[in-house]
Amino acid sequence: MTTDPTAHFSIVTGSAEPIYRQLAEQVKRRIAAGQLAPGDEMPSVRELAQALAVNPMTVSKAYSQLEAQGVLERRRGLSMVVAARAGPAPRVSDRAELLRPTLERAAIEAHQLGLSEARALALFKTILQETQPADAP
């Protein structure tokens, strides 16, 4: 069975986070979690644009930004691969930091809704359990 390399990407519309940034953050999170390793190939701009029905320039912008940040590198030809990392795999604390922007948004909304800290944390815990991938350790 072949896995479609575009299947790991998803976008939401109506968000304050531009689509190119959503894509870039997904790549960073998957690298941080060890789901993508140095040398792993990204789907081509065209493949990903078609799969998500987004403008190819948007995908291109995400890849260019990741390349500029040293996260991806362009291999001979056109394909983009995960860059060889200089140091060891990121620590848990660094990975957790990647979650901060999403949680900050959730925190602001929780305050706006007048939810207690305990109520908001309980909900997050429930969602973590509900969304746990079947093959997780």
Partner: protein, 294 residues
């Protein structure tokens, strides 16, 4: 896309005016589209989007000003340039007694180039009965047929006026994929108007806002979202901050107690993430639409 350096703008509009009686619809409008740009045109109902798109194509009487397509004045387009333009109107007056097969054969006869294979593939993909009278097709099928008709000659400029209004979400997604796969990757310049912001966000790299008869802002959507903030605070403090920091105020609405909400676009500097006494938040396309259109 390298041709953008030397080729004239695909669309160049200057001093375009149109009025219905005493009511101006387009007011000294300027607009440019470069080759390969995909621009979403946004505006409220009655803002004049259809009037603008029809004026661009010479389908509207009573306009003044200049329109150039591919560098040629609109009133002197040669046949070869005309054949580079595709248009799917909002309400297509398709010939209801014809069948799709007859209609497409009829339109094919007007163009030096026609991609039969693509037209056939789209008719299959969108399950349109080639032999059913057009008047008996559903609204969504008629809209798809109108899009196929606009794509058959592989135009370099494609103008779509509310192309997905009659399509369900699955049909819209399929249309967007077709647009990306077959049209945008070819470097076609595309203008499309829609009220469905989620579709526009996916496909349009640039957005243009039509309000008060003019294109008041046109920019890459990403840059517009990243450079604009919604600010809530004392009205005077907001106006003071906007002046001293050189923000472009895109919209302002008063709230109670001398406070106001301001939509402001920062210049070259990054927009502030926090300001004393002012609530700063990032914006969605919907926020921009609400703030920029009247």
């Amino acid at each position: 896309m390298n041709q953008a350096i030397t080729a004239p703008p695909t669309v160049a509009v200057d001093h375009l005016r149109l009025a219905y009686g005493n009511k101006p619809v387009l007011d000294n409008l300027r607009w440019q589209l470069q080759p390969g740009q995909v621009v979403g045109l946004l505006g409220r109902n009655g803002a004049g989007k259809t009037s603008l798109l029809e004026s661009l194509l010479g389908l509207r009487d009573g306009t003044t000003g200049t329109v150039r397509l591919f560098g040629q004045p609109l009133d002197r387009l040669d046949d070869a340039t005309r054949a580079r333009i595709g248009y799917a109107p909002q309400h297509s007056d398709l010939f209801e007694w014809m069948t799709p097969a007859q209609l497409l054969a009829y339109f094919k006869s007007f163009y030096p180039r026609w991609n039969d294979a693509k037209v056939d593939a789209l008719l299959d993909r969108w399950a349109i009965d080639r032999e059913m009278p057009i008047g008996k097709l559903s609204g969504g099928e008629q809209q798809r047929l109108s899009i196929i008709r606009a794509l058959g000659h592989e135009p370099d400029l494609l103008v779509l006026d509310e192309p997905v209004a009659s399509l369900d979400p699955a049909g819209r997604r399929d249309f967007l994929q077709e647009l990306v796969e077959q049209v945008i990757v070819r470097g076609t310049t595309v203008i499309f108007s829609t009220h469905i912001l989620s579709d526009l966000e996916r496909v349009a790299f640039h957005v243009g806002f039509l309000s008060g008869g003019r294109i008041i802002v046109q920019a890459p959507l990403d840059e517009l979202m990243e450079g604009t903030r919604s600010l809530v605070g004392p009205q005077q403090a907001l106006q003071q901050a906007a002046r001293t920091r050189g923000w472009q105020v895109l919209g302002e609405s008063p709230l109670a107690d001398g406070r106001a909400r301001m939509l402001a676009r920062a210049g070259s500097d990054a927009p502030p993430s926090s300001l004393a006494g002012i609530e700063v938040s990032s914006v969605t396309l919907e926020d921009l639409f609400m703030g920029l259109t009247r």
